[in-house]
Symmetry: none
Subunit: 194 residues, 4 copies
DNA sequence: TATGAATGAGCGTTCATTCAT
DNA sequence: AATGAATGAACGCTCATTCAT
């Protein structure tokens, strides 16, 4: 007979993840001490270690959670039946001020840390693969609807869009603010779409 | 009269920077200890601290050096009088296997660390600004030569190209290898240039 | 009226002692965590703490139990009406492979820990005293039967035999295996008994 | 060019070993914290860790040093051309109040810890082997001089003497004080030597 | 009676930095 | 100019113990 409900355990876990995500976004993985996380979560060392066996595992859990959020954001942007510029603008808005905005520094941290932690690299690679596939599907649909130029290599285009979004994450985070209209303009300029 | 030549000092400084760059590329800023750098440089703690007053300053110096290398790479790629796809391909080759390849992980580290270190952020911002300006100049020249579609918003396009390159840095580093042809294809697909 | 029988309580207590003895024998007092004991006993922290108020008290209980087992082993060896070499051989067999074998590491732990815990030292001292007295009784009986050389200082001899057995505990535990025949031969050699 | 002399380094190392030996003798390996050792040695954490890479290695070094001291003690006792009781009495005096007295609790700790640390077990085993061999040599010499009964199995007798000494270490440490005369009497009683 | 989530002091260890030589 | 021994605050983590359920 469990002492507390499964639900309570899940809530605690999320409480820790939320606190850690905040710390990591603000200070990066390495400049955040476990003590910082204990304080942010309002829990003791032992309590946090009951849910995550090490700082490394906590980082991986945060990374998994953050990367996982990118997929529904893409889906929701793609689902609005807009043209490509519209989809990009929606994504960019999401990254700039939406729910993904908070996670931007975490994305950067994960990519930087992937150099050292193969587990993190795997995570990042698989997420990138999923995103790429979904973008391809979107492009194929748009091609079928005649909304992108005929003959477009959707495979290559999907990669380009992903790189564009990743670059935007860096820009937003480093420059502080890149106006979303600029992205829209950029996309429009080169895509010459409506 | 100094005991040793200015030249000697400069050589020592570079020796330390090279050793540190190697460590940082391999393990990241935070997982590299100063002791790692002493060992890699073959120097004592005191010797290194004579040239750099703290680890933070050493990181900033490395960042400045790494970012500075991006400009000549862009210039050399732009100077070959190729079309845009050619320029992009040259840059991508440089990032994938050229002199910039070694620095890719450092770029990532710098962008990730910029969140915490405003000095680093400034450095990154100014470099990004310089790159953007140079790309704009290139595009204007290509527009003047009729090698990119008339009416292209070169400002917006420059930003897009920079984001694309940054995304490529992430991809290369996280995925391990993105074939350069793919970038060329991507660019060609969307730019519909020769 | 108690909720559960006295018998149940006793069984639980023994269950914990058995689990703890196993852990302590394998890993020593200090390298065994209370969590190890909870797991080995298949009980919760709270359950164990209901029976033993602290790790220290649990250690003392284990020590008392282990030391107490030495007395019946000596009695049973002495009761077989063998000469001194036979008695020693029986004891050594008991320590080497009999019921006392499992407790050998615990004996060592107790002696080592007695340096720090006066309670444990008292326990060890009183057991040593009891053993000494019983060995003396045995020797007096053998002397009366003319089975040890006349004029033997039984007091001194008892002490020697106890030391011999303690040394054997160390040897068995550290060397892994000292053949029992060697002890018999040793004893015979110096006692020149049949 | 070394910063300080080899001699200085050796002195520091010994300073740490001495401090640690004192702590370990007083409180045992596990109840002694590294902080205790820093304080006892009058050094910082970093300084101690420059000489010993871990607490485990420090324990092993202490064990090696302590065990090594047993050999010269035996040699010096054996070298006085006394009969066996005299040699035993000398050893016992050494263990009771001589230079080995301080190390008695450390011996106990090593034997107890050998259960867990195979490296320590190896150390203890090899020392035991050396002691055994030296005792055998001593007995053979005494046998040649006719100072022990003819026909004595010196191999078996050597083992017995070693066990006796080990038992005495336990007794002294646990009981606090066993009068050396008792050992002499014990030995005399059973050896019936002059 | 029994559970097990939670506590938090304290552990062993690292590492940026200093300074006597 | 260069060394490297030394510092000590701070790190990630453990574990004996408690107590609401």
């Amino acid at each position: 007979m469990p002492k507390v409900s499964q639900e309570h355990l899940e809530r605690r876990r999320q409480q820790i993840l939320d606190a850690a995500a905040g710390c990591f976004a603000r200070q990066g993985f390495h400049a955040t001490s476990m003590q910082d996380i204990f304080a942010a979560a309002g829990l003791s060392a032992g309590a946090v270690y009951r849910y995550f066996p090490s700082k490394t595992e906590l980082i991986r859990a945060i990374a998994a959670e953050a990367l996982a959020q990118a997929l529904p954001a893409l889906d929701s942007a793609a689902g609005q039946d807009a043209g490509l510029p519209g989809v990009l603008a929606a994504l960019v808005a999401e990254l700039g001020a939406g729910r993904l905005a908070r996670l931007r520094p975490v994305f950067l941290q994960v990519w930087a840390e992937a150099v050292r932690d193969e587990e993190l690299a795997k995570l990042a690679r698989s997420t990138l693969g999923l995103l790429l596939a979904r973008i391809r599907v979107l492009l194929d649909r748009l091609a079928g609807q005649g909304r992108i130029p005929p003959g477009t290599d959707t495979d290559a285009a999907a990669w380009l869009i992903l790189a564009l979004l990743q670059g935007y994450v860096i820009q937003l985070t480093v420059l502080g603010d890149v106006p979303p209209e600029q992205v829209r303009a950029s996309a429009a300029a080169l895509l010459r779409q409506t």
